[in-house]
């Protein structure tokens, strides 16, 4: 263990806690939307505890809200496909963390913990940044999910309160920081058009999976790439102030 400057470590702690507090606020919107989609309070809380990756959680309840339980396979596939980037983060964090607590580290591997960790100098500050952010987001996200689920239960007709529009805005907020570069914008536009165009023909939830093909095609053939494009997976918040956008 190399001796990092204490200032670097305490900066990592401060950043991690700040990101945890900022992220906790979206837990309320997730809790309310999940209950609006027909889940009960317990099911909503289990999602935040066990799945613990915001994009996948929003996707699961979004597909469920439009297609009900009949769209379960598409709901699971959407959540898993969105969660696949966490595998890339895990691969990136493994040599940095050097921990025996693999399951705990994997559990806490999300956009925020990876972004805060990689924003610190290598060594102890990086490890502290990862664990503090992961734990702070975990505690905040789960507490506010419960609050949101309880509030959602009181609302009743969620459409009258515009919760369906809130869900669309939440997806746009997760997407926004990733729309950098021609390639990302082209994939975003293509996927949105394809999903809308196939909606009348396919079961609810399936258009989202079909739209993933746009990413595979563009990614494999590397269309619209920038000459000096950074091709390595980078968490979106890594160069911006961490936690300024997106959910875990």
């Amino acid at each position: 263990m190399n001796s990092a400057r204490p200032s670097a470590v305490s900066a990592a702690v401060r950043q991690g806690i700040a990101v945890g507090i900022a992220t906790a606020a979206y837990g309320v919107s997730f809790g309310a939307l999940a209950v609006g989609a027909g889940l009960d309070v317990w099911q909503t809380c289990v999602l935040s505890l066990l799945m613990f990756t915001g994009g996948s959680q929003f996707a699961l309840v979004g597909v469920l809200a439009s297609g009900g339980l009949a769209s379960a396979p598409a709901a699971i596939a959407s959540a898993a496909l969105l969660g696949s980037r966490n595998a890339v983060y895990g691969m990136r964090m493994k040599p940095e963390l050097r921990t025996r607590w693999t399951l705990g580290a994997a559990w806490l591997t999300i956009d925020e913990s990876t972004a805060v960790a990689l924003a610190q100098p290598p060594g102890r500050a990086r490890r502290v940044g990862f664990w503090v952010t992961g734990l702070a987001v975990f505690v905040g996200w789960n507490a506010t999910t419960l609050v949101g689920a309880l509030v959602g239960n009181l609302l009743g007709d969620t459409r009258a309160y515009g919760l369906d529009a809130a869900a669309a805005a939440a997806f746009l907020g997760l997407l926004w920081p990733r729309l950098r570069g021609r390639q990302a914008v082209a994939v975003g536009v293509g996927a949105a058009v394809l999903a809308a165009a196939t909606t009348p023909a396919l079961m609810p939830g399936v258009p989202v999976i079909v739209a993933a093909l746009v990413a595979v095609l563009v990614g494999v053939f590397n269309w619209w790439e920038r000459p000096a494009a950074a091709v390595r997976e980078t968490p979106p918040a890594a160069s911006a102030p961490p936690g300024s956008d997106g959910a875990p």
Binding site: A22, A25, Y26, V28, S29, L39, Q43, V46, L50, M51, S56, S66, L69, I76, A79, A80, G83, S84, N86, A87, G90, M91, R92, K94, T102, A105, A106, W107, G162, L163, D164, A165, A166, A168, A169, F171, L172, G173, A184, V187, G188, A191, A195, A196, T199, P200, A201, P204, P207, A211, V214, V216, G219, V220, N222, V231, R232, T234, D245, A247
Partner: protein, 104 residues
């Protein structure tokens, strides 16, 4: 499939993907194509979810109060307004359009 089975299956799948990242040799995902597809996959899925959540109603496409709400939220994100404020603003816009103008 019950709601509980759905929740557990999806949660375990997502958790397994996280563990998978720590279990595989590092060089697997370092190929540029794999990293690029993983990045773009997130973009494509989120963009598709925005489209379906804004225009979809079961298997129909409809233009209702969600469309002005998402346009407002896009402008607010462009102005760097924080996530939670934008999400609430979108809900308020849709709710008020429905209340005042009887929009679907």
């Amino acid at each position: 499939m019950t709601s509980w089975q759905l929740i557990l299956a999806a949660s375990i799948a997502c958790l397994a993907l996280k563990v998978f990242g720590y279990a595989i040799p590092a060089h697997w995902l370092e190929r540029p194509t794999t990293g690029r597809v993983a990045n773009l996959l997130t973009v494509a899925l989120l963009a598709a979810l925005v489209a379906v959540q804004t225009l979809g109603s079961g298997q129909h496409l409809v233009v209702d109060a969600r469309v002005p709400a998402i346009l407002v939220s896009a402008s607010l994100y462009a102005l760097r307004v924080p996530f939670i404020v934008v999400v609430i603003a979108a809900a308020v816009v849709a709710a008020l359009l429905r209340l005042w103008f009887g929009l679907a």
